[in-house]
């Protein structure tokens, strides 16, 4: 079971590494040929701007690739022509998030406090932290 879990973790991390590696390679071509096609605001921007948006390109490269392809095909690019935000929708999401946090946080933190190990006097703490806080002996 442990081995299976380790393999699963390694698989997920390998996938993420490949995803971001591909994103970095895509980013080079995107900066070179694609970015001007999808956003005219890039004209005249500096190198620091390009550096700042590169991590995002590595994360969102599939979305940008679709937009680049649409621009190359001469299709409509505007995601939201009016460029508006639904304040009501956002307020509803805010409300849901806070209701969830109001229940989940006191519950999980309460359990953590209730079940925390009680260290014995003059003994290092048990478990996972003992190594990091034990006195250094010379």
């Amino acid at each position: 079971m442990d081995r299976l879990f380790e393999n699963l973790v390694m698989g997920v991390l390998a996938f993420l590494a490949l995803y971001f590696l591909f994103g970095a390679i895509f980013g080079v071509f995107f900066h070179w040929r694609g970015i001007h096609r999808i956003d005219a605001g890039v004209a005249g921007s500096g190198i620091l701007f390009r550096v700042l948006i590169t991590p995002g390109i590595m994360a969102f490269w599939p979305w940008l690739a679709i937009r680049w392809q649409r621009a190359a095909a001469g299709l409509e690019l505007a995601i939201d022509p009016e460029h508006t935000v639904s304040q009501k929708g956002l307020r509803r999401l805010h409300g849901l998030a806070w209701k969830a946090l109001a229940v989940a946080i006191p519950l999980t933190v309460g359990v953590a406090l209730w079940t925390r190990a009680k260290p014995l006097p003059d003994q290092p703490l048990p478990g996972k932290f003992s190594q990091s806080i034990a006195p250094v002996s010379h």
Partner: protein, 352 residues
Amino acid sequence: MSLSYRAVDWNRQKRFYDLTLAAFVVLACTTFAVVSWLVSPNFSAETIIIRTCAVVALSLLHIILCLGPLARLAPRFLPLLYNRRHLGVTMFFLGLIHASLALFQFHGLGDANPLVSLFTAYSRDFRAWGPGAAGWGQIPFEPFGAAALAILFVMAATSHDFWLRNLGASFWKSMHLGVYVAYGLLLVHVAYGVFQSEPSIAYPVLLGVGFAVVSTVHWLAAAKEKALDQQRHRAEREGLVDVCAPAEVSEGRGKVVLVAGQRIALFRHQGRLFATSNVCRHQGGPVGEGRIIDGCITCPWHGWNYQPEDGCSPPPFKEILSTYETRVVAGRVWVSPKPNSLGTRCEGAVVV
């Protein structure tokens, strides 16, 4: 506002904001590190740096979470909202330093891949039930921190306006609500991490106070917003809705009114009343809480400008807010619930 992207649109306010932020980070880090060293002289330098970055990052996160609702409750907090993204990116980098050093100190010197070890080391020892079961307090806490850092990375990486435009404002704003998920994950990370290793009650008390403050300001702001949404207007006439008395809108100032369930910004400029959409085209800021500066409606969040007569940004910018017909009749302001077509010029209602 700018026609072409820049890394940072520096101005005097942003410089002051960032200098203040840098001073706060340096002061907070130094204070916590010195106090930690005095209280626990056995701690190694790495441990003190790991804990310092964590505490300062979490403090910044609490401040960040309070800014939005505080700005809704009192306009004096609006300047703090102006460059909140730099606060967020700073908080992410402090978290990244914390995570990188912790990864090296606790997982980097073994024979397993440190990143694999991060997710498997404690879970290998943890048994919730059965023989050799550990207490629930021994739940592996590091994956919660890693998940929070991943969310904060996505937010920091997409904090530039380039992403706002290219991901779409609605998706961008919704994605950045992920900060609440990250906050929840970080509190769990702390509760099953430092609470288990530190017998002191100080950490739970500080975290509890922080959560109570953040929750309270959010609930207060939500109550204020709800009250606005429950406004009832008294009359309709020729398709227009009675919203307020003219005196309720001061010269050069705005007021948010509810018309047929939607929020509309009402402004008084040079003795005339103009109505526009309350949603800024930049980040959806509440335009009606802004004011008129140099003849333009100015969004209180990031200073985007619109002309009150037609809702258009001044040339060469191209953003447009919807405008609404207004009239002043029988000592009341009347607003049409139907927007004019974009860019329509309105004369405004003369305030007698």
